[in-house]
Symmetry: C2
Subunit: 357 residues, 2 copies
């Protein structure tokens, strides 16, 4: 029996046989109660039907879904997080967005996580341990369902937060075999070594390493460069040129000029990132330094434009999209409590030899 004069009825909410339990909330928001009432079930059944919990009568599920759709019901993430102690957020911490590498990584992560119903909280650390710690603290308060971190280097406090939060966590870009640690990446050291060995195979002996940013992975590539040169008996520490500034084409040009002025006998340069190598390539062109005749150039990450340089740049293609996709799906498995997932995924890398070397 429908009482149209019911003072609690504010508008044409579809009234099923179910009794009106409360008047429309003060906020005006359409709630689970509204849906349950419209479907003629209890709130908890509506909740289960909407979340796809198994063990609900299919007929009821259908009725609830129809009611939700008709009312335009959108679950309140805050209420859900408060009640269940977990949000549908995944916190993703990356060092910098101005390096397109991380933009591609992020896009790939989202392509996997979004369809699975998770929302990414993007945090940019600017390569600063203190910023990462602050972000972690703030994001953890939001009770995310999982964590996606870049690399392994962080403050002890940040590490403690990660260790004690009890949340599934996957590390990206580097790999590390350790109990309870999940990671997707490749060996930065091996990649640095491989490109240096390529330059050695071209007969180069005075091979420099030029880097910006100096983050952990840049240092690991330096290790690879050093190891290859030591093995070949031609390592010269003076040919290591590092600058803490973020990488850019402008910085690449500047460091190239600096290096060539100081060591005119350098016959090859390995840059920690392609933007540096691109800037160097243009500087060489301006300075009349022939590439690769006088000096061979090699970059890292194979970014947009490297194949457009004159001559086209040799680089290392790093599968960041693959890293993002695999890290995200590994995290999904962990968040779903699946057993027997792989702890470490090495996606490898690929030398892209072009005319600059």
């Amino acid at each position: 029996m429908d009482r149209d004069d019911d003072p609690g009825a504010t508008g044409g909410a579809p009234s099923a046989a179910a009794p009106r339990r409360t008047a429309r909330r003060a906020t005006g928001r359409i709630t689970l109660d509204d849906v349950a009432r419209a479907a003629g079930v209890s709130a908890i059944t509506a909740s289960r039907a909407l979340r796809g919990t198994r063990g609900v009568d299919p007929a009821l599920t259908e009725r609830v879904q129809a009611a939700a759709a008709q009312l335009g019901y959108v679950p309140d993430p805050a209420a859900r997080a408060l009640a269940s102690a977990h949000s549908q957020h995944v916190a993703v911490l990356i060092p910098m967005l101005s390096n397109t590498l991380f933009v591609e990584l992020l896009e790939s992560v989202q392509r996997t996580l979004t369809p699975a119903g998770y929302q990414t909280l993007i945090g940019v650390t600017h390569y600063r341990a203190d910023e990462e710690e602050a972000l972690l603290r703030s994001y953890l308060a939001h009770r995310p369902a999982g964590l996606l971190l870049t690399g392994f280097d962080r403050t002890p406090a940040a590490q403690a937060l990660v260790d004690h939060c009890g949340l599934p966590c996957v590390h990206m870009m580097e790999t590390r075999e350790a109990p309870g640690i999940h990671s997707v990446g490749f060996s930065q050291q091996a990649a640095g070594r491989a490109i240096t060995e390529h330059l050695l195979s071209r007969g180069r002996r005075r091979i420099a390493y030029v880097a910006g940013q100096m983050d952990p992975r840049v240092m690991q590539r330096a290790d690879g460069w050093r190891a290859a040169l030591r093995a070949a008996g031609c390592h010269d520490p003076a040919l290591e040129l590092m600058d803490p500034a973020p990488t850019s084409m402008a910085l690449g040009g500047r460091l190239f000029r600096e290096l060539m002025a100081r060591h005119p006998d350098v016959d090859a340069i390995f840059f920690c990132n392609d933007d540096l190598a691109q800037g160097a390539s243009l500087a060489a062109l301006r300075m009349g330094i022939e590439v690769p005749r006088q000096v061979a150039l090699a970059g890292f990450n194979d970014l947009d434009g490297s194949d457009q340089m004159i001559p086209p740049l040799t680089s290392v293609r790093t599968p960041r999209a693959e890293v993002g996709a695999q890290a995200a799906s590994l995290l999904l498995s962990l968040m779903r409590g699946q057993q027997g997932v792989r702890a470490t995924v090495d996606v490898g890398f690929e030398l892209v030899v072009r005319q600059s070397s």
Copy 2:
């Protein structure tokens, strides 16, 4: 009197003179109640003290803050959002992160919003109206405190969501004078016109417009280009070359070759974004086409590397950091309910004339 055998006491919570009202929560989380108890005040007073609501005894405020610090209390954003109907989130919707323009815009937004206690929810729309609408719907469910949108073009449904959510909203990158609308940007049309007039002033008459992405602002720049050429009596619609693909150096090279093959008499090109112009510059170099003698090149946004090109590229410097900072502080004013804020802020643009034109 402290009863150490109290079965509700699970662990060494600092027990002040205040009575234990409830046992420690099942979740183990440190709550406002814990802080209030430790400080010997009620939960609501602790809440007010921590939020800085005026009208709390300074002595109490100090005691509460000390207790919170000592216990390592972190407010629960979900509970706060649920109770107050507003989170400390600001949803920021941008089209793409692979265009560094938006990365810089975003960084600038965060530099203003983060210190003010707001957290940015970054949403990337990929220039797709349907993705923007979905993001809006999802973010609105999180009850953000404010909205930062890129431009004005969206689906009617998305527009309705923005209109009816009643949330403060600032539009970025473009400006529009309309009642109730807040925007920070500059005239894309005027910028397109200015750079074209510059090329005209150099004596060029066969001036092409080459663009990728074809988003609304790219089209507005096209309008400016068209207007300038019409005014000069030398507009040729055949010299408008647009491609829906995202801009990149590779695309710039391809479009340049295509244009020069089809219209060898072109004597200047205005590119909608610098990455296209950079790719074209390198293509010209490879093809032996002299810049600017045979064809002048001009880009847009003055991105990293444009001053490294051979010759250095003429461009339009767009103050995206300024846009981000001003948009964020305008939004802050609106969220704080301040009256008499400026509805429209035009931050202008600047021609950067280098040797390519």
